[in-house]
Amino acid sequence: MTVTRRSALKVIAGAGAACAATALPAPAEGRERRKPGPDDVGLLYDATLCVGCRACVRKCKEANGLPPDRRELQGAVYDAPDDLNAQTKNIIRLHVEGNTTSYVKGGCMHCTDPACVSVCMVGALHKSKGGIVAYDKDLCVGCRYCQLACPFNVPKFEWAKAFPLIVKCELCRDRKEGPACAEVCPRGAIEYGKVTALREEARRRLAAEPKKYNGKVYGESEVGGTHVMYLAAVPFEKLGLPQLPSEPVPELSETISHGIYKGFIAPVVLWSALAVTIWRNRKKGAEGEEKP
């Protein structure tokens, strides 16, 4: 069956040529690394200052109109979310190890180059003013690809509702006073400002008190940089912050698909070639077809 074997190889060549061509993308064609814009805003959370009072969690719910996440313990009811969820855009977790304790804030990292924005079909999640990763419910189909793509598992979905939304921190973008969490923090552990200024401030604190911190700013390089950044005494991975390289999450997928679909040339060429082949074959008459 040599003909079929050859055909098989031709099929692969035809169908896979475009993919194969970009399987090893040339570095020159890689997409550019992005930097925070001069007016981009973010947060600097300093775990060494946080006392775990959760005022920010409460204020976040108030500012965003989110209902309490009710837990009942021994007959008493608490607003006690155990993770980010459809009612909780901001959370304070506790880390205990021996005698050392540390709190850690959870919420959207507002990446410079966000995976959720890269995958969203019609831009329901998009970069808004100030580099904020914002949500437009009128465009959201509820496909949940953002949840799959986010390396921090941040976007949450209203599973309990028949008409659900995606829920995530938008840095209180419609609030005059800025993010509620930063405003309410009694310890100044959450600072709101321009990303560039916050980075300088983080560096300044590290240099001023090197013994107090673990020596790094989380969010400076992770996945190409995030606009919400962390300082802590404990190593970040122990606080549940994933260890991630400096490669932006969408870099690989966008490089490959833009390679395959560059200028939409490959699909048009393939379609034309197929149409011509099929048309000519039909004129020629198929091989081995029995004439009725």
Partner: protein, 394 residues
């Protein structure tokens, strides 16, 4: 053997079809519950596993198994092998049904289904970085293309009936369609090439979560090669099944050579997969013999077994061997898709997923509905060809 297709005829409502009707109704009831009470109440999906059975099976595996039309069209029209023509109609019909089912599954799966129309319409909002946008647009277009490809079947029937609006319409449209068909057939090959490879691309961005034995920049290439093989396997299976059930002559020789193509494609897939893993220095992950390593070995062995069975001399002549090989191939390809989409996807500690009764019931219901429509069409319209054998009079 004549290659003219004819309706099979016979009663539609049999005990077997009633069984499928019941399954479809159960699925329908759960679908109603999903729309009234929401996804949380009816599925096991969570913020950790936002994509579950419906995406992994109904959409990704389902459309792969519905690629018979695609695979046969490549052989019959591009490589111009006329002997495959009798397989085209049943294959395209199953493809049309499989893709339609996937479309329905997507409507059930997405949370804000009333916004779906905006995907093809809001061109100003298209995010060309989104692999899912490409898949969505491609799948939507392909469902149309498939029904156009299969439409002559219905129009021939209407034309034969000789009277009424449908007959006149069909008489007018058929010659025009005949003329433009090469362009539509070309689209019918282009679109699956695009979105079936993109179904692999969708998990490129999940590299922080996808196990390294499955994550590779070659995902789109591996998906497109394996889907062609799965398409052929489905055609082999389906041709055998319908020849049995409807007691029609089986195209054993043709199916044997299709099996051979499948085997070679599978070997190419395996070679690329293992060389890629070796070059990336990830072979150690296989021989760690943890759950993922073993799963990878099971996948690899399944593909290899399918290739070995289908490449042998026996596969040319023995229907049983062909069906065995086809089933192995369908299993291997499906396992690969399930593994990428669910098993090798690791959202972090504390998350787990197993499809709920509701999810399973809806998936089973959709498959049952697909079978029912197939049986109805095959009995009423000229889809299957080959002379019925003497005993086929039911």
């Amino acid at each position: 053997m004549s290659s003219v297709a004819r309706p099979v005829g016979g009663k539609f409502l049999t005990p077997v079809t009633w069984f499928f009707i019941v399954l479809a109704l159960i699925g329908g009831a759960f679908t109603l519950a999903r729309f009234v009470f929401g996804l949380g109440a009816t599925t096991a999906m969570s913020d950790g596993y936002p994509w579950g059975l419906w995406i992994a099976f109904d959409v990704v595996t389902g459309t792969a198994l519905a690629c018979g039309g695609y695979s046969v069209a490549i052989l019959a029209y591009v490589f111009n092998k006329g002997k495959y023509h009798p397989l085209v109609r049943p294959a395209v019909l199953t493809s049309a049904l499989g893709y339609s089912v996937a479309a329905v599954a997507i409507i059930i799966d997405v949370g804000r289904y009333w916004n779906i129309w905006k995907i093809p319409v809001r061109v100003d909002k298209w995010n060309l970085n989104s692999g899912l946008l490409e898949v969505a647009l491609c799948v939507m277009s392909y469902v149309f293309v498939l029904w156009i490809e299969i439409s002559p079947v219905f129009m021939e029937r209407f034309k034969e009936s000789g009277h009424g609006v449908l007959a006149r319409l069909s008489t007018a449209i058929l010659p025009v369609l005949e003329k433009v068909l090469p362009f539509i057939l070309a689209l019918g090959i282009l679109l699956p090439t695009m979105h079936q490879s993109s179904l692999g691309s969708l998990y490129l961005i999940a590299w922080p979560k996808l196990h390294l034995l499955w994550h590779t920049p070659l995902l789109p290439l591996l998906y497109i090669i394996s889907v062609v093989g799965m398409g052929y396997a489905v055609v082999v299976f389906e041709a055998t099944f319908s020849s049995r059930v409807y007691r029609r002559e089986r195209e054993t020789a043709i199916l044997g050579s299709i099996g051979n193509v499948t085997a070679w494609l599978t070997l190419v897939y395996l070679a690329i997969r293992i060389v890629d893993i070796a070059l990336r220095g990830r072979l150690g992950l296989v021989f760690r013999f943890d759950g993922y390593g073993l799963l990878f070995l099971l996948e690899f062995a399944s593909f290899l077994a399918a290739a070995v069975v289908l490449i042998g001399r026996k596969a040319r002549v023995s229907p049983a061997t062909q069906v065995g090989g086809a089933l192995l191939m369908m299993w291997a390809g499906s396992l690969y898709r399930f593994d990428t989409y669910l098993v090798a996807y690791r959202p972090g500690p504390g998350w787990s997923y197993f499809p709920s009764v509701g999810e399973q019931a809806i998936t089973i219901g959709l498959v049952a509905l697909e079978v029912l429509v197939y049986v109805y069409f095959v009995k009423r319209f000229p889809i299957l060809s080959g002379a019925p054998s003497a005993s086929a009079s039911r």
